[in-house]
């Protein structure tokens, strides 16, 4: 991007010259020059992108209004151009809004909403309009009918690229056969080279939107994708922003808009997951940055020079000996109780004890007296004597500083060096009566670090020692840890609004504070069942698995990863698995390689899940479709064209877990298949061997060939279903014997279809007549190693047709 900045010190004449050429460019103009960012960089791609933007909008609009989407897409050749028509049954758009939605870039209802939706930036459809007008010169034709209105509105629009405002070319009222909905017609340069991507987009959209009906009419073909469910996705709730996910600019805007007066109130009302306690934690973090912390020293021992009681008592005059002593002793006692004492403590103790003594002795300890007492006590604690100019740090401060520095630095530093360093550092903390903050020992972390750096630099120079960055940081941390957050009130919201730096400190405070993850009501995952339903609808496979993870958070935005796998059946067995990527229910068609979803799938060891994966990494081979859906209030994309999910560790981890969950199911299915295949193989071999063997033994013994059916069934651990018939007086008794030779209980569905009415049906069979045929159906529970005998009677000339289901083929032997 061009830089419009001129740096300081540059020739003024040059700047003036540049200024003449500088002017604001309209967003429309900008995107006109950067089509690739929005996915309109080639004719083939433009058509796909336009369809995608229009269909995404249509789905969002219909769902939001609670209608089951019914979307019609038509692509027609129109001379040198293609005409694209997209129609939906959404709620329609009001007359006033139509020009803005289609004729103004970055206009949308969703940009500010923290809610999962397909479109987010409000660029997509207007960018398609822009592309069409730039390539064909034709306006976009929009028809929309709102629910309940008699007529529809018709507009012909173009975008004024200088102002990013819609320009209405034609406007009229019209009639439309849809009761409500919107239709857009665009003519644009394009080609159908990306037909495959277009089909993928529409088919994949159908997979993740089983509640939608889609139709795609092309010059050559006409596809219809019917609904698989009448259930709309659950409505999402808009949530307030999470403190971890907001930027400085947003917070500034929110501060100027809020009704709250205090920062605490602002945090609690404008953000999700912030209560009083959390707000207080954020404000403390803000205070540390805004005000700095106060250095806290160990209280001086009574034998040391700094006798707090004596200092306080000297500072108080005219209050009588008893009251003065009681006051001074009480303050000194309070100080002694603490491990470390900061200026704020002294102030508080003086105030509290003054009030107590006032009450007890009837003397007034006014503001000046108290101030004097605080000053005297603080001097005693820090060992500072204002009468000595340029005073060095007291032994007490040096000892404190040495203790902290010694613990924070490595044992290898020699004692002399550390002591010299501690002396220099303590020096920096000597109270300065001329500076209110420095007097109270109030510094920011950066200032503390600066003290440490200066002292360390000097120590390196004078003592010829090394004082590395780690040691410096450790010492800084050690000091910062003993320093106390100040009790000062946070500024009011009104003070913050104009103070960009202060707000920046607040944003940092928000990020630093641990806050629970945002709620997930703002998300609309597809759900594991519907992921499977969607795959079932579009892929004729033999096995499906799906998973839907619990919500997680990245950068303040909640997200959910879902995965589905379809295997076998009609899925192409040659080559790599098909990978279907979705973000917020929108299929991602381009930039497959650069997508975090693809990378994650490639990183999984698919051999562990019984799939072929050449080289042990990459997309697995075989008849597999793997789909991944990422739903979030803010899916991180690699670019504005929203083709690929950016690599974010938290999201990649969840994708992997979701995929692995589904893959585990696939594995157990494949394993079972394998054992079934083995069983089938065994069956084949035995079915070859045993008849030959039985014939041999019959030959040797000179007997007829034996019946080996039962033995075979037993060997296969099979369920053998046989029909025995005993004929009598014009009717026959049919017995269906179910022998379970397996090692577990079986409940097959056994159905005999007869063309005469059966009688005396045993074991509570279900008999259904259809077109002159009776379906006699039993579902007997046959324990391992036992048999069930199911009987009925029917006329002798009836034809019978036995079938058995609900049992795996290789385990079943039926002899009719």
């Amino acid at each position: 991007m061009t830089s419009f900045q001129s740096t300081l010190g540059e020739d003024e004449g040059m700047a003036a010259e540049l200024a003449e050429n500088q002017r604001a460019i309209s967003i429309a103009e900008f995107f006109e020059k950067n089509k690739q960012m929005l996915g309109f960089n080639s004719g083939a791609r433009a058509l796909v992108t336009a369809v995608k933007e229009a269909v995404d909008n249509a789905l969002d609009a219909t769902e939001e209004a609670g209608h089951l989407p019914d979307i019609y897409v038509e692509i027609e050749e129109a001379g040198d151009y293609y005409k694209l028509v997209v129609e939906d049954n959404g709620p329609g758009i009001t007359k006033e809004q139509i020009p803005k939605i289609f004729g103004k870039l970055l206009y949308g209802s969703r940009f500010h909403a923290r809610e999962q939706s397909r479109g987010q930036q409000g660029i997509g459809i207007s960018a398609a309009v822009l592309y069409s007008q730039l390539t064909s010169g034709k306006p976009a034709k929009v028809t929309s009918r709102t629910q309940g209105s008699e007529t529809a509105q018709y507009f012909e629009l173009v975008i004024d690229t200088d102002t990013n405002e819609p320009e209405i070319r034609d406007e009229s009222e019209t009639s439309w056969d849809r009761p409500h909905g919107t239709r857009i017609e665009l003519e644009m340069e394009g080609n159908m080279r990306a037909r495959q991507q277009l089909h993928d987009y529409v088919k994949h959209t159908a997979v993740v939107n089983p509640h939608a009906r889609l139709e795609l009419k092309e010059p050559q073909e006409h596809f219809k994708f019917e609904r698989a469910t009448d259930e709309l996705p659950e409505e999402t709730e808009e949530i307030k922003p999470h403190p971890h996910g907001v930027e400085l600019g947003n917070v500034l805007k929110m501060l100027s808009a809020t009704n709250s007066q205090t920062v605490s109130g602002f945090l609690q009302t404008e953000f999700t997951r912030v209560g009083k306690k959390t707000a207080e934690k954020v404000i403390d973090a803000f205070r540390d940055r805004h005000f700095g912390r106060e250095m806290a020293w160990t209280p001086p021992a009574s034998h040391e020079d700094g006798d707090v009681a004596r200092a306080v008592s000297t500072a108080v005059s005219n209050k009588g000996a008893d009251a003065t002593t009681a006051f001074a002793d009480a303050v000194a006692d309070r100080v002694q109780e603490l491990d470390r004492v900061a200026h704020q403590h002294v102030g508080r103790f003086v105030d509290e004890e003054a009030e107590r003594v006032e009450e007890e002795y009837g003397k007034t300890f006014g503001g000046t007296v108290r101030e004097n007492a605080v000053e005297a006590a603080w001097r005693a604690i820090t060992g500072f004597d204002p009468d000595e100019p340029d005073q060095s740090a007291s032994e007490h401060l040096i000892a404190d500083a040495y203790a902290l520095a010694d613990e924070a630095t490595s044992k290898r530093k020699d004692d002399e060096t550390v002591r010299a360093f501690a002396e220099r550092l303590a020096e920096k903390f000597v109270p300065d009566p001329a500076d209110a903050d420095a007097w109270r020992g109030r510094f920011t972390r950066d200032e503390v670090r600066e003290f440490v750096d200066r002292s360390a630099d000097m120590t390196e120079e004078r003592e010829d020692a090394t004082f590395g960055d780690t040691a410096r940081e450790n010492v800084t941390t050690a000091f910062w840890r003993v320093m106390r957050t100040v009790p000062d009130d946070a500024p009011l919201v009104s003070d913050l609004v104009g103070d960009r730096d202060a707000v920046s400190r607040l944003v940092h405070g928000m990020r630093e504070t641990d806050i629970i993850a945002p709620p997930t009501s703002c998300l609309s995952p597809i759900s594991a069942e519907k992921v499977e339903a969607g795959l079932r609808k579009e892929y004729d496979a033999e096995f499906y698995a799906s998973s839907s993870r619990d919500a997680d958070v990245h950068a303040g935005d909640p997200f959910i990863a879902e995965a589905g796998i379809a295997y076998g059946g009609d899925i192409e067995a040659e080559g790599q698995a098909d990978l279907l990527r979705f973000a917020n229910r929108v299929p991602l068609v381009y930039k497959r390689g650069g997508c975090a979803i693809t990378q994650t799938i490639k990183g999984i060891g698919w051999r562990n899940y019984n799939l072929d994966q050449p080289g042990g990494s990459g997309i697995p081979n075989g008849p597999v479709v793997i789909m991944v859906h990422v739903a979030s209030t803010n899916v991180p994309f690699t670019s504005e064209s929203k083709d690929a999910v950016a690599s974010v560790e938290a999201i990649e981890d969840e994708i992997e877990l979701a995929v692995r969950e589904a893959a585990r199911e696939l594995k157990s299915y494949l394993k079972k298949q394998q054992s079934m295949r083995k069983r089938q193989k065994k069956q084949n071999v035995l079915a070859d061997i045993l008849p030959v063997m039985s014939k041999k033994v019959a030959d040797v013994t000179g007997r007829p060939d034996p019946d080996i059916g039962d033995a075979l069934a037993r060997i296969m651990n099979n369920v053998l279903v046989e029909r025995e018939v005993s004929e009598g007086d014009g009717e026959q008794t049919v017995t269906v014997v179910v022998e379970n030779h397996s090692d577990r209980s079986e409940s097959p569905d056994v159905t005999d279809i007869v063309d005469r009415e059966p009688r005396d049906v045993s074991d509570g069979a279900n008999v259904v007549e259809m077109d002159g045929e009776w379906f006699v159906k039993w579902t007997p529970d046959v324990p391992a190693g036992e048999e069930a005998r199911l009987t009925y009677t029917v006329e002798t000339d009836a034809t019978l047709d036995l079938s058995v289901s609900e049992i795996e083929g290789p385990k079943l032997t039926v002899s009719d």
């Binding site: 065994k682 071999v685 035995l686 070859d688 061997i689 045993l690 030959v692 063997m693 039985s694 041999k696 033994v697 019959a698 030959d699 040797v700 013994t701 007997r703 034996p706 019946d707 080996i708 059916g709 039962d710 033995a711 037993r714 060997i715």
Partner: protein, 365 residues
């Protein structure tokens, strides 16, 4: 001749019975199977009555329940058919011929993958049908071993009966033991004891030195691990002529096993121990104590030798004081010696000193 026919018919009937058992299993809807004693060291027990080692109670089952088992049974069915026909036609064949013959069977699954497989199957059939391989008219490939000494016998050959004196009527090579020694009838003998010798070199030394004539000894050449025919004739010599049987081998673990199979019966053919083993046979040497006593030239024990010795310590057939002592001594000295190591003391040492002394010690001469 009618004897042969009877025995053929009997063997054949037993095979047919076996096939009939499979047939009945099919008919009952049972999974065809064949149960055999487990043929491992841990499943042989000493039969107190017969004084031989036989299979214990543990069995393993070949069942058509698995592809492997079904293939085995199919092969068994084919082999049964083949053997039954062979008996019917009064012909015979070698184990190796059976293996090659299976190549011509119409079902590939029935063909043998190797000779080990067909040999083992014939042994299995021996066990389940209680008919000896010889009675199925199955011969091993190699010609039998030889014996030499003052024995006169009558042998049934395909060319009629022959009377042979095993010292006078034979060359230095001796009399060749036929595959089925039960076709032999002992007529007369002048034998004091039978000496079974492991190696050809030692056997030739004894014959050259005239040991068989000097001591009225029948020298049986074992040719390494003795064939069934050699063991059978040894047993008959002991049982029918009441002769002491002495075994003279190298002094290493493998040779002790040779003695073991003469005396106690082998693990592989424990079902025939009663028929093949000579429990009264005695071990002459080379004993580990001889290595020490005669200071014989030796080789060090290899790892496999040590393993074999240790395995023999656990072998129920060697669980007696003599063997435990000898094996432990050998493990201790870590050495082994061949029979011919005695030549270090002169070519006549074995016939003039070693054997006379040892046999005298053992009360044979």
């Amino acid at each position: 001749m009618s004897d042969t026919q009877d025995s053929n018919a009997e063997a054949r009937q037993k095979l047919v019975d076996l096939a009939a058992e499979f047939y009945d299993q099919f008919e009952r809807g049972d999974i065809p199977e064949m149960t055999l004693p487990t043929r491992t060291k841990s499943n042989i027990v000493f039969d107190e009555d017969k004084k031989v080692w036989v299979y214990g109670d543990r069995t393993s089952t070949r069942s058509a329940n698995s592809v492997r088992g079904a293939r085995k049974l199919l092969k068994a069915a084919y082999t049964i058919e083949f053997l039954a026909r062979q008996l019917e036609e009064d012909r015979s064949s070698t184990l190796r011929e059976l293996y090659y013959l299976s190549e011509s069977w119409d079902n590939e699954e029935a063909q043998f993958n190797g000779q080990d497989e067909s040999n083992k199957l014939v042994e299995d059939l021996e066990i389940v049908s209680d008919v000896k391989r010889e009675d199925f008219h199955m011969r091993p490939e190699e010609s039998g071993a030889t014996l030499i000494g003052p024995l006169e016998l009558r042998e049934q050959t395909r060319r009629g009966e022959r009377v042979i004196h095993c010292q006078k009527d034979v060359g230095e090579g001796g009399y060749q033991i036929p595959n089925n020694p039960d076709t032999i009838e002992f007529i007369d003998h002048d034998i004091d004891f039978v000496l079974c010798v492991e190696t050809g070199g030692m056997r030739d030394r004894l014959v050259e030195n005239g040991f068989d004539t000097d001591y009225n000894c029948l020298v049986v050449h074992l040719k390494g691990q003795p064939a069934r025919a050699t063991r059978r004739i040894t047993k008959r010599l002991h049982d029918e002529l009441g002769l002491p049987v002495m075994v003279f081998t190298d002094g290493d673990p493998w040779s002790y096993r040779i003695f073991g199979s003469v005396s106690y019966g082998s693990i592989k053919s424990a079902h025939l121990s009663e028929y093949l083993a000579t429990p009264e046979a005695q071990f002459v040497g080379i004993r580990p104590e001889d290595i020490v006593e005669y200071d014989l030239p030796t080789d060090p024990l290899g790892d496999s030798d040590v393993n074999a010795l240790e395995s023999e310590l656990e072998d129920p057939r060697f669980q007696d004081e003599f063997w435990t002592e000898q094996i432990e001594l050998q493990l201790d000295i870590g050495k082994k010696a061949e029979q011919q190591a005695l030549a270090a003391r002169g070519l006549d040492f074995v016939t003039d000193t070693y054997l006379p002394e040892r046999l005298d010690e053992m009360g044979v001469i």
